[in-house]
Amino acid sequence: MANISCTDIVKSYGAHPVIEGMNLDIPDHEFVVFLGPSGCGKSTMLRMIAGLEEVTGGRIVIGGTDVTTLPPGERGVAMVFQSYALYPHMSVADNITFGLRRQGIARAEIAPRLAHVAQMLGLEPYLDRKPKNLSGGQQQRVAMARAMIKTPKVFLFDEPLSNLDAKLREKLRTEIRKMHLQLKTTTIFVTHDQLEAMTIADRIVLMRDGRIEQMGSPDEIFERPATRFVADFIGTPAMNFLHATMQDGHVARAGNIALRLSPTDFPRLRPGQNVELGLRPARMKLCPEGTPGALTGTVVLVENMGAEGQVITDVDGHEMSFTTPAFRGLAIGDRVSFAIDPGHVHAFDPQSGHSLREE
């Protein structure tokens, strides 16, 4: 059990910087998710914490010990790889106990620990098998067992579920979360899947091009995106964006569209100022035509998502989508009106992309 603290971490390959001055503090017991598009440096950051990659600059402290220059085996971390990275020629049992045997722990002590993790992850029937004779989900459980049996200070997961099908991914995600509730080991989990991040994280570190774009609980990230990038990255269907100009009475206008913004959330907006509005499809509701503040457009496409449907509409030349459970009554070409609660409208600076909301 340990907290992790990264100070001014820099990593470059040759002249090309991949991580540019990361500062990160993860308290004990926390489940942190590194989220971001492919290539933003999530794996690099994780691998530097694991010691598989050297830092170009900065310090990494785990549980009060400066591990910046320690080899991976001495940092007290365990890692689960996307490829599972099992030892292909060893049985499942040997795979799981390899680390303990390397530490010279007695066989008599290893056996009960193996039995315990195998029971926890439901691997008892497979202990004598070779990894290649297991399904992807079972292989990933072996990889998790191999990490757990070491009772590390920190768990590191690098996109562990990406190679699994959707159903299994969901199941293992729940299992990982349950495992964390039980063991309470500090965990860093890397994913590019925002839904996975939202469901599993205590705290999300959203990264972009080697920098932290926003750090916060899933709710904060979803409800209070600090930048347009975050707002766009989080949530399915993706947020609608609309360039608008402020007018008197805290109204943002884009052509025929006029939306009133909350003066308490955005006290500094001045008439004439350009803003980029962000409207979450899930926050908009179907309403009768003529309702004040409603947007009206024609249906371009209806996508059935089961319980809800995404309705893509053309509003005054802008493509806007919203979700509604009542999508089944809508057809292409229909006129629809939908409204959003002013409390759920986001506004960003068009130049910097920063949110204009005041906390």
Binding site: A50, G51, L52, P71, P72, G73, E74, V77, A78, M79, F81, S83, Y84, A85, L86, Y87, P88, H89, M90, F98, G99, R102, Q103, R146, K150
Partner: protein, 290 residues
């Protein structure tokens, strides 16, 4: 035309040719081995299994059999051991691709040398009066060592040349194989606190078990054909200390005796022994690798 027929038809000529060539020579050797032909006289008799029975009582033949077996074991194990050691060392210490490629290129040179050329080079290196190796030995106060004339050293000294040629070649192959292995299990082993040698002993080399067995088999077959090397370096001597079966057969059949029937019998026996031995090794290797 079905695929199967096409495959059959295209294979028949080549296999037919090979089979004819192999069968004719084997049949010829069997035919000779049942008689008492020599190069000295034209007349001969049919003697049945006499040559084979004599072989079993021929102490020099038994010696040659032993030397051949020793030669196989020393060269195959030596080559693989050298290749594994060097490949792992280079894999761990030389990280720059340029240096690695230069090393690989240098390591390929010995095997490109004709065997006779390699043999002459090393005969010179081993020379007690002029050789570099004995000069170095002299510096540390040993020698001169009669590498090729000392019966207890000669076989090893010749094997060193073979291992030098093939071990370095196999080092290159193994290094390239190590480079193709996925990084993840190695990194997992690092996190599992495995030391460098443990990573290779428990993770990478077991992952290369299949290729290693294939390399061993290739080398074993190759080692059977070391006639030229041994012939140039020692000619089978001193005495019979490096006389393998093929050298003995050559001495018997062509060089000294001209007893071609006896030599043929020896070749047939050699053929049977190697076929049986290799079938067993092949089967065992496949079972072990799976």
């Amino acid at each position: 035309m079905t695929r199967k027929r096409f495959v059959t038809l295209s294979l028949v000529p080549a296999i037919g040719l090979l089979a004819t060539l192999a069968l004719v020579s084997v049949a010829g050797a069997v035919w000779f081995s049942l008689m008492n032909r020599t190069l000295r006289s034209a007349d001969y008799d049919f003697v049945g299994a006499y040559n084979f029975l004599r072989l079993l009582r021929d102490r020099r033949f038994m010696n040659a059999l032993e030397i051949s077996a020793l030669w196989e074991i020393i060269t195959v194990l030596g080559t693989l051991a050298l290749a594994v050691l060097l490949a792992v060392m280079i894999f761990e210490t030389v990280k720059k691709p340029l240096w690695r490629n230069l090393l690989c290129f240098a390591f390929l040179v010995p095997v490109l040398l004709p065997r006779v050329a390699a043999a002459f080079i090393w005969r010179f290196l081993y020379s007690p009066s002029l050789g570099v190796i004995n000069y170095l030995c002299g510096l540390v106060g040993i020698g001169p060592v009669e590498f090729l004339a000392d019966p207890s050293l000669a076989l090893i000294s010749v094997a060193v040349v073979d291992i030098w040629q093939w071990g370095l070649f196999f080092t290159v192959i193994l290094l390239k194989l190590l480079e193709t292995l996925p990084r993840d299990p190695i990194e997992a082993a690092l996190l599992d606190r495995a030391r460098t040698w443990e990573i290779h002993a428990y993770v990478t080399l077991p992952m290369l078990k299949g290729p290693l067995i294939s390399l061993a088999l290739v080398k074993a077959v190759e080692s059977l054909r070391s006639f030229d090397l041994i012939f140039v370096m020692t000619g089978g001597g001193p005495g019979t200390a490096t006389e393998t079966l093929d050298l003995y057969a050559y001495q018997m059949g062509i060089n000294m005796g001209g007893r071609i029937s006896y030599a043929s019998a020896m070749s047939i026996l050699l053929l049977i022994v190697t076929t049986v031995a290799f079938t067993i090794i092949w089967k065992a290797g496949k079972k072990w690798a799976s």
